[in-house]
């Protein structure tokens, strides 16, 4: 069953066609990594899926709720870690505050941040911030979790702790779409890799297939790593 179906998506900014006829389906429990050079349209695709951008043409169908993890975390600086996580469940989903807080504490424990519940975002490292933002997205119990370059703002050491968390979500069969530049990680974790180039999906398949692809652009891109 598809959790997310994108059909014939098109998006331009001014005269630049960023997405040219993108179609993509994500099955329940599947992990799809989207790779490609900067400007290939990866982030725009994610932003269209999450309705942060309005597509010019095409359709997006999603089952249930979606969660999005940003490159720059976008935590709310004036709220504690706990409130960053509970604010949406309490005020959007109308879950009782006590329940939301219990669930948030559980999430924080799972992500190794139990002692940070009362901290403010500026007191966290980049890796901790990104884990909190993952917890914030998970608190809404999404059917699918989307990551927009979740480790691009982090140094290699902190990248590791975030990737570990994403891996643990994979072990729990979370459906995920991950835009990433971490090739090794994408290869290891993905069921499917989508290679985007100049607004189209140039190659798509299992990690083995994509990494062994004869496509010139794929070879060029992967050769850089």
């Amino acid at each position: 069953m598809s959790v997310l179906t994108v059909s014939n998506l098109q998006k331009s900014f001014g005269k630049t066609k960023v997405l040219k006829d993108i179609s993509l389906a994500v099955e329940d429990g599947e992990i799809v990594s989207i790779i490609g050079s900067s400007g290939s349209g990866k982030s725009t695709l994610l932003r269209c899926i999450t309705k942060l951008e309005t597509p010019d043409a095409g359709e997006i169908q999603a089952e249930g709720k979606m969660g999005l993890v940003f490159q720059n975390f976008n935590l709310f600086p004036h709220y504690t870690v706990l409130r960053n996580i509970t604010e949406a469940p309490v005020h959007v989903m109308k879950i009782p505050k006590e329940t939301a807080e219990m669930e948030a504490v559980e999430l924080l424990m799972r992500l190794g941040l139990a002692d940070k519940a009362r901290a403010y975002p500026h007191q966290l490292s980049g890796g901790q911030s990104q884990r909190v933002s993952i917890a914030r997205a998970l608190a809404l119990k999404p059917n699918i979790l989307l990551f927009d370059e979740p480790t691009s703002a982090l140094d290699p050491e902190l990248t590791g702790e975030v990737l570990k968390v994403i891996k643990s979500l994979a072990d729990m069969n979370m459906t995920m779409v991950i835009v990433t530049h971490e090739m090794g990680f994408a290869k290891e974790i993905s069921d499917r890799i989508v290679f985007m180039d100049k607004g189209v999906i140039a190659e798509e398949g299992t990690p083995e297939e994509v990494f062994a692809s004869d496509n010139v652009r794929v070879k060029e891109f992967l050769g850089k790593f």
């Binding site: 999450t50 309705k51 942060l52 709720k65 979606m66 969660g67 999005l68 940003f70 720059n72 976008n74 935590l75 709310f76 600086p77 004036h78 604010e87 949406a88 005020h91 959007v92 989903m93 403010y120 975002p121 500026h122 933002s133 914030r136 809404l140």
Partner: protein, 216 residues
């Protein structure tokens, strides 16, 4: 002026200070929300709203408050033949004038909030109203405290302008007493009154800034 006279004058000044404070607080009461409305109008995606707001901001900030006070006092009579109560006209002029400055301060604050904040709120499912009151406004308030503090202090001093339309307040009392008694002491006393008021405003803002320093 003898000591007893100065003391007596200070007593009168305390009475006049009530009017000054009245102008100050009423201007804030009406001007702060009106300023937010004007700020949202100025940032509106709808061109006519944005255009009209821009004109309003230009007129209010581009002409003397003194002139605006006279206008609000006399225009209703000259144009419609109705008289507006002097104090009401004064408060009206102050409110629409200060709202224009507040609007630009708000706008500066709003535009300094990273776009990602709104985007995160949107993806989490907050409504526009929730996003404004829960996410944007609290962060805007923290960021605009320094310019707002200065604006409040300017307002304390500007209240003296209302005497041009005949409202008796501290400045008027001080200058009248000066002429009658042939001494500058009333001016010095008035200066102390304004200074103390602004010291309180300053203290208020530093306290709030400190209170909000728990996050960056």
């Amino acid at each position: 002026m003898a000591a007893a006279e100065i003391l007596k004058f200070t007593g009168y000044m305390c009475e006049a200070a009530k009017t000054t404070l009245g102008v100050f607080f009423l201007t804030l009461l009406f001007g702060l929300p009106l300023g937010m409305a004007a700020c949202l109008g100025r940032m509106s995606k709808i061109f006519p709203i944005r255009f009209i707001t821009k004109i309003y901001l230009l007129i209010m900030r581009g002409t003397p408050l003194l002139l605006q006070l006279m206008f609000f006092k006399y225009a209703p009579y000259y144009i419609f033949g109705v008289t507006m109560e002097t104090y009401t006209a004064g408060i009206l002029a102050f409110s629409v004038n200060y709202a224009a400055y507040f609007a630009e301060i708000y706008r500066g604050g709003m535009e300094s909030i990273p776009k990602g904040q709104k985007e995160a709120a949107f993806v989490l499912g907050f409504t526009k109203t929730q996003t404004f009151f829960k996410i944007t406004l609290p962060q805007v308030i923290k960021r605009i405290l320094p310019p707002m503090g200065s604006e409040f202090m300017t307002l304390v001093k500007d209240t003296s302008l209302i005497q041009i339309i005949g409202v008796a307040e501290m400045y008027k009392l001080a200058t009248q007493t000066m002429s009658r008694e042939v001494t500058v002491i009333p001016l010095v006393v008035a200066g102390v009154f304004y200074l103390v008021m602004n010291a309180v405003v300053d203290k208020f803002f530093t306290t709030v800034e400190k209170k909000l320093s728990y996050y960056h």
